[in-house]
Amino acid sequence: MSLLDASNPPAWLDGGSWTYPLGTDNQGRDVLSAILYGSRLSLFVGSLAVLLALLIGVTLGLLAGWCGGLTDTIIMRIADVKLSFPAILLALLIDGVVRGMLPRDAQSEIASYVLIAAIALSFWVQYARTVRASTLVERNKEYIQAARVIGVHPAKIVLGHLLPNVIGPILVIATINLALAILTEATLSFLGVGLPPTQPSLGTLIRNGNDYLFSGDWWISIFPGVVLAVLILSVNLLGDWLRDAFNPKLR
């Protein structure tokens, strides 16, 4: 990478070369390589965020559905409060708080983890609600009552009997959410509150390139943008396919 190669257009246009097939950005970094690294980071952040949201949401949903009563009410009210915050706002809030708390150099290291936490905290509610609804239905089914009559420990009933039977729709939602998580990360990075510019993700790439769109160096933004769109589309299709695969009526 050298500054001499800065702002090269893509290979098939004038001034470009095949060393940098998709062009370079203002600092001479290869757009193609950046996209490859960036996609990896975006997927990493997105997947972990969804996983964390799953963990939080499923646990709280099971608790709320199984225990009922006060536990249920408390958890559901917390969920309602969370829902009144849009994801972006929440992420901004968390990010701002963490930035204030930590010294500058520590920030960029843990930035990705803060981002993961922020996204997870935005997404857990839908898992909790779905799991809670399914739990309320399954709880009265006779195989659960049979386990209670036998005298099985409630934790074993919830983990061994309930969980496998409520987890189905969740997995489908999770895959679709992965796309949303990546998009959210991209948005946040674009807005400047996600990953720092030193760590390329699709979002930061788009952000970087945004400044140069109107000066004619369109490739810095557009290619990451296209890749982002394709990534989201594929994940959504995966989610659709999973949903159909689990649907017993279509078997």
Binding site: K141, E142, Y143, V149, G151
Partner: protein, 344 residues
């Protein structure tokens, strides 16, 4: 021969459910709290080795009684005493475990009573594991195979999943699971109502055989009087949460005392009586949230009068049968005609 011991004693059992609207809606509509009295003062006793049937139509509370006996619900008031101990009083799971081992349940729906994601052998092994009844994995497999054979399935069926079996076979698996902990007492909640007639015959025969082989005691819940005729020694008839008649099966079918029992026996569509012209008694079971005052059967009773609207009848002994009816007490009923010849 010594009198068989009392295994189950149910005393003044009550269970109510709060069916009010959520608090905010209640305030908005100005409605009061609504309580559903599912079980409204039930008392009966069961001896070891007998089959006692609870019969009634929908909303009479028999399923609730089953769940109270087995400990799935706590009584609102009253006692359920099994083998001298009250399950509801035992606070911890550990303390209740020995009792639970001896008292098991078979459910109505063969499709919902088995976890669809578990293999059959795991389902049957669950009581064995929970109560630590076997020492090793090998012994566990052995016991599961024994149980499967006992309900006339094959040991290889253990590796399959519930959806691979028919309704009757699933009910057998339920029975195997119930028998795993070597119980003395089985509560059977409409065990054959969801099965075809010929399959029902197989399951009822199996249950009778098992009772003889293992010395079991059955609390048998059903709405089907013909099945009860075949299976039970004593019968309790329930209506809107109360017992209106308790008698030996012999006496109940030959000479039912309570007008509701007579109504039930009269209205069963019966094979013997083809093309019979009869005028069925009108009316339906009232809403259990707002039961009629006094005797809850009085709106449909051809013998009801003033006292029935005011005063709730208690069970009294009439020639060996316990009946809760003012008309019977005052001897106002016409001579009970012989309904059936009950033969053993």
């Amino acid at each position: 021969m010594a009198e068989p011991e009392t295994l189950l004693h149910v005393e003044e059992l009550h269970r109510s459910f709060d069916v009010s609207l959520p608090a905010i809606e209640r305030l908005m509509r100005g409605k009061k709290r609504a309580t559903l009295k599912a079980v409204d003062g039930i008392s009966f006793t069961m001896r070891r080795g007998e089959t006692f049937a609870l019969v009634g139509e929908s909303g009479c509370g028999k399923s609730t009684v089953a769940r109270l006996v087995v400990g799935l619900y706590r009584p609102t008031s009253g006692r359920v005493v099994f083998a001298g101990q009250e399950l509801a009083r035992l606070k911890s799971r550990k303390a209740a475990a020995p009792l639970r081992r001896r008292l098991q349940m078979i459910f109505q729906d063969p499709y919902a009573s088995l976890n669809p994601r578990w293999q059959v052998k795991r389902i049957i092994a669950e009581p064995l594991r929970t109560h630590r009844l076997v020492a090793s994995e090998a012994a566990l497999r052995q016991r599961v195979a024994e149980l499967l054979l006992q309900v006339r399935l094959s040991p290889v069926d253990g590796d399959k999943f519930p959806h691979e079996f028919s309704g009757g076979q699933r009910q057998r698996i339920s029975i195997a699971r119930a028998l795993a902990s070597n119980p003395e007492f089985l509560v059977c909640d409409e065990p054959t109502s969801a099965l075809d007639v010929s399959v029902q015959a197989q399951i009822l025969n199996l249950m009778k055989d098992l009772q003889r082989q293992l010395g079991l005691t059955y609390l048998f819940i059903s709405h089907n009087l013909a099945v009860i005729y075949q299976m039970s020694d004593r019968v309790g008839v329930m209506y809107l949460g109360r017992l209106v008649e308790i008698a030996s099966a012999e006496r109940l079918f030959a000479a039912p005392r309570h007008p509701y029992t007579q109504l039930l026996l009269d209205t069963i569509p019966s094979i013997e009586i083809t093309g019979r012209e009869r005028e069925p008694v009108g009316g339906e079971v009232p809403n259990p949230i707002n039961p009629p005052p006094g005797c809850s059967f009085h709106p449909r009773c051809p013998f009801a009068y003033e006292r029935c609207r005011r005063e709730r009848p208690e069970l009294i002994d009439v020639g060996g049968t316990l009946v809760a009816c003012h008309a019977v007490e005052e001897d106002r009923l016409p001579q009970a005609r012989a309904y059936t010849e009950y033969e053993t």
